[in-house]
Amino acid sequence: MRFLRRVLLALGLPVVLVAAWWFGSAGSQDFYWPSLSTIVDAFGRTWTWEMFQEQVFPSLWRLLAGYLIAVVVGVALGVLIGTYGSVRALLEPVLEFLRAFPPPVLVPAAILLSGIGDRTKILVIVFGCVWPVLLNTIEGVRGRDEVLSDTCRTYRVTGLLRLRHLVLRAASPQIVTGARQALPLAIILMVISEIMAANEGLGFTVLQFQRGFQIPEMWSGVLLLGLIGIVLSLLFRVAERSLLGWYHGQRAGQREF
């Protein structure tokens, strides 16, 4: 009974909303608001395997490359800056300034500097996504537990061992927070860079549909972008759970007291 109630609560509203869209738009004659069945039909026709290979996978590849580079660079720099107080004092205002830029404005500058190829698009994603990771890593490294730091010193745990077991471990919840903030930025920048440096890719294709007034195809593209956002955030959550299981367990334990 309880299980049934939970399933009902979880699925009730989404089912109602989709049904409302499906039946509300059925037989729609409005050019810009085609019926959901038309859109689903167009989805199957448009996003074939070839289309995925030609337009979607290159986009996703750039997204992933840019995002991963940003995370690695952000963590590496963050550990460096967070460890040395004077480096932090030196760089903090610069970082705050750089991070305040709305990342999409970098696209025009990046196009000027390196054309409209893959490099530009990945560069833009890296430059937009690195700040949340970097600044959160700095905070995480700074805020590590004093007692653990002292313990490490007493036992002469240094070098890579210290980095792995003390610094990165202590900063990992913050690093994950930063990475989570960066993920939607990566999607935004992937789409924007493809729209502005337009030659290929998912964002470019969807915009072409819009320019050609292929409205059902355009709607299906919007759906696909939404699905990609949802799938990526689910993947992130799975990764987070395996990386930070120890941390959530610890927090839950503390809460029970």
Binding site: L13, A89, P102, V107, L113, P132, R180, I195, G226, I230
Partner: protein, 275 residues
């Protein structure tokens, strides 16, 4: 006395040192960007040195069209943020205080939230064309989730003892919202406001760049199309300054509004970020 004075001077000394270092960092940054194009590390035609960007920026400041664009950007940002904040707060308080409603909407929120706002770009272009309205839709959509998530967290986080006390004193629904829920949710609301303000700026500029609604973003796009490299960079710097100013402004508001709040809260609550 002496000890206190010594400690104070040590603290101000440290503060002075970090401010000096910070200013040095900024100057060094500007210097690197000045020298790098001049010695040819980056092409000078496409990455002008700092001094030239600043001169161009000065010229822009003298032009009425620049101020019109800036004003339009600010108006779009403020309107979008206002709508998102009001809607997010109202819906957030509702969802936060009614567990049944929260449970029923949880999956829907989880599905809608990760949908990137840029997915809506082609849609708003065909529906509204290159107008402020198109950009507003993007801004409101993106900023609304920031606000909603924080407010729901804040309302759920209310101390159960305080809530029970309010019930014992028969505070009534309005009184409970006003004197119990609102003060304890306020720190979360302010965090939501700060995140939403940053996201709203990003989406305002994005909309202007991509959709072509009037504002700084459109000016940047125009300058790039006509190869006015220095203007591109000058306007990019303006958006950066705008970002910094908005950040500072919100922090000031936060400090004033939460002056009474004893705890310094963690700024990283579950589920924040841009979309």
């Amino acid at each position: 006395m002496v000890a206190v004075a010594a400690r104070t001077s040590r603290v101000t000394g440290r503060r002075f040192r970090s401010v000096t270092l910070g200013v040095l960092g900024l100057l060094g940054f500007a210097l690197v960007l000045e020298v790098a194009p001049r010695v040819g590390i980056v092409p000078i035609d496409f990455a002008p040195p700092t001094s030239q960007i600043l001169v161009t920026l000065g010229e822009q400041l003298g032009q009425p069209s620049f101020w019109t664009a800036l004003l339009r950007t600010l108006l779009t940002w403020a309107n979008g943020l206002l709508i998102a904040v009001v809607a997010g707060t109202v819906v957030g308080v509702l969802l936060g205080s009614l567990p049944v409603l929260r449970a029923a909407t949880a999956t829907t929120v989880e599905f809608l939230r990760p949908i990137p706002s840029v997915a809506l770009i082609p849609l708003v272009i065909v529906l509204y064309g290159p107008t402020v309205r198109s950009t507003l839709v993007l801004v409101v959509y993106a900023a609304f989730w920031q606000m909603l998530i924080q407010v729901v967290h804040g309302v759920v986080d209310v101390d159960p003892v305080a809530r029970d006390t309010a019930r014992s004193f028969r505070l009534g629904p309005w009184g409970t919202v006003r004197y119990v829920i609102w003060p304890s949710a306020l720190p979360y609301v302010m965090t939501g406001l700060r995140l939403a303000a940053a996201v709203a700026l990003i989406l305002t500029i994005t909309g202007e760049l991509v959709i072509g609604s009037p504002g700084l973003g459109k000016e940047i796009d125009n300058a790039q199309q006509s190869n006015a490299v220095r203007i591109v960079y000058a306007l990019i710097v303006v958006t950066g300054i705008l970002g910094v100013l908005i950040n500072v402004l919100i922090r000031q508001v936060e400090r004033r509004v939460l002056a009474w709040h004893p705890a310094t809260r963690a700024e990283t609550v579950e589920g924040v970020g841009v979309r």
